[in-house]
């Protein structure tokens, strides 16, 4: 052992409480550093936005009939003939939710499996700080992903904005609290049930079917439409399509934005409550460090 260090005496003075903001920044930096050490993730980030909508676009093309006669029916239901933009707006939102579930929603579980969750729990910070740190990294990731997607859509799908891009950005920002509220609840449940895959498939499946990722909600049975109205992603997709494809203005989507913000407040509150409840339960059962 190296014995050249100076002899130290232990200070009886405790350290100052760590700043929550600084802790969030360091969690963000740690997540980013680890992400960059897996270059294959970045490759999938480039390929996935182009590849994923193709399946739906070709299905739509096949169903549009001879001389695209089916497009009239599609237009009557959606108000646009641009089915490509229609599909890619839906699939991009789906991919955002998907990344959020796998990345952010599974973050605590991943730490649990690695063995580092207890190390973080032993730091003198409120434990919700961990969730906020992961969510800020996932937000950066999502924005980079959407930026790359946008460029690729323009190059490969001839995608163009009809409406105001800043209004589309505002809808995305208004969707963040509700989507991450779902993520908070999801992360807490996964830490509890210790199985991410089945939960991701369940939530993703519900969003695929009920939120109109690739089809208009008008074709759904009434009871399914009722379920759709309780999922915030439905409003994000609807208003984004209205702005991007039909050139809607803020007055046209104001209600959707307000609903998204309301969902955000409710789901974020539920998410934090779920996390605090899980925190209490794992302390009782001792399952914090279990695989």
């Amino acid at each position: 052992m190296d014995t050249t260090y100076e002899s130290i005496r232990v200070s009886s003075k405790a350290n100052a409480s760590p700043s929550i903001l600084i802790a969030i920044v360091y969690i963000f930096k740690k997540e980013l550093t680890q992400f960059l050490r897996y270059p294959s993730w970045f490759v999938s980030m480039l390929i996935w936005p182009v590849l994923f909508p193709f399946g739906y676009v070709f299905t739509a093309k096949a169903l549009s009939g001879p001389a695209s006669s089916g497009i009239n029916t599609f237009s009557a239901l959606t108000g646009t003939t641009d089915y490509v933009s229609y599909m890619i707006i839906g699939t991009t939102m789906w991919m955002w939710v998907n990344w959020m579930l796998w990345g952010f929603g599974s973050s605590l579980r991943r730490e649990q499996v690695l063995g580092t969750l207890e190390s973080n729990w032993l730091c003198p910070i409120p434990k919700t700080t961990l969730l906020f740190g992961y969510s800020f990294f996932q937000l950066l990731y999502s924005f980079v992903f959407m930026g790359i997607s946008l460029i690729e859509f323009m190059l490969f799908y001839n995608f163009r904005f009809t409406g105001n891009p800043l209004l589309a950005l505002l809808i995305i920002v208004a969707s963040i609290p509700s989507i991450y509220g779902i993520g908070f609840i999801f992360a807490s449940i996964i830490m509890w049930v210790k199985e991410a895959n089945s939960m991701v498939f369940l939530v993703r499946g519900v969003i695929t079917v009920f939120c109109g990722i690739t089809y208009p909600l008008a074709i759904l049975p009434n009871w399914m439409k009722g379920v759709s109205s309780f999922i915030p992603v439905t409003y994000s997709i609807r208003s984004l399509r209205a702005v991007i494809s039909a050139g809607a203005r803020i007055g046209d989507v104001r209600t959707d934005i307000m609903i998204l913000l309301l969902f955000g407040v409710i789901l974020m509150t539920l998410g934090i409550l779920a996390f605090n409840y899980t925190q209490k339960k794992v302390k009782e059962t001792g399952s914090l460090g279990h695989y």
């Binding site: 009886s12 003198p124 059962t285 460090g289």
Partner: protein
Amino acid sequence: MSHYAIEVQDLKKEFAIKKKNVSFWKRRKENKSFVAVNDISFNVNKGEIFGFLGPNGAGKTTTIKMISTLLRPTCGKILINGLDVQKNSMEILKNLGTVLAGERSIYWKLTGRENLKYFAAMNGITGKKAKEKIDYLLKRFSLDKRADETVEKYSTGMKQRIALAKALVADPPIVILDEPTSGLDPQSARNLREIILEFKEEGRTILLTTHYMEEADQLSDRIAIIDHGEIIALDTPKNLKRSLNKSNTITFELNRWNDVIEKELQQIKSIENINSYFDENNRKWEVKVQINNGNETINNLITTITNSNIKINNFKFEEPTLEDVFINLTGKSLRE
């Protein structure tokens, strides 16, 4: 101000056990509980190394998880530097440096330096102060030359050292170590034990769990022997061994062993305890016999064994060890 670093009073932890093979409707009735820690009390003096010695599943890790705020006790009280763990968990965590799960408690995809930087920030230490502290710790734990390599490339001993450095990054007065040398080669284990002794020289209080009796003996000022969730003895290693002062241990290496000969030996009055163990690697029986009156019994023992057509390959007369103390208290070996 309490002169104890850690005070544990009537601590108990009971876990509910859910039966997996019982139908959902009957489960509520069938559920049982398991007492991992049963009404234990002890105090750890400031500046001492306090060892928790016991076999796997004895309740050592459960106890230290309750002390380090990760687990809520069913009942009982824990005070750290006079503060109640249940009421002041944030303040408590500032006083503790805990290493659980050793090498797995750090990020393998980060470098050693990045790990320390991260955990320093999570403990409120950033900027120049953090840099100085990290440089010092990396040098102290002989990790400075490989500080900028990812942890996944480190040996097990190096990973364990970076986990220890992480626990020291906030300069805590109390260090809690759960099986710190488990899985290490003898040289790395020796190095780590030296580090633990240095912690004590710096004035820190150390609570460590181990199932290696030599380690507990070498490091601890006082030892609590724990079995089935209960403290069955608590004293200095010297006093624990002295409690067996009237008895000595003879270890035989035999070619075979059976219950008949064990019962026969138990008839000899001066024999206090017999513990047999089959060494799979060397295909031989190791039988430890505790006796309380020296040579007279040895003759008797050897005669009885050889008369049973058992070959004695070797035997040695030993001073009592903590293993003997454990056997004397529980009737079984730590390895069982």
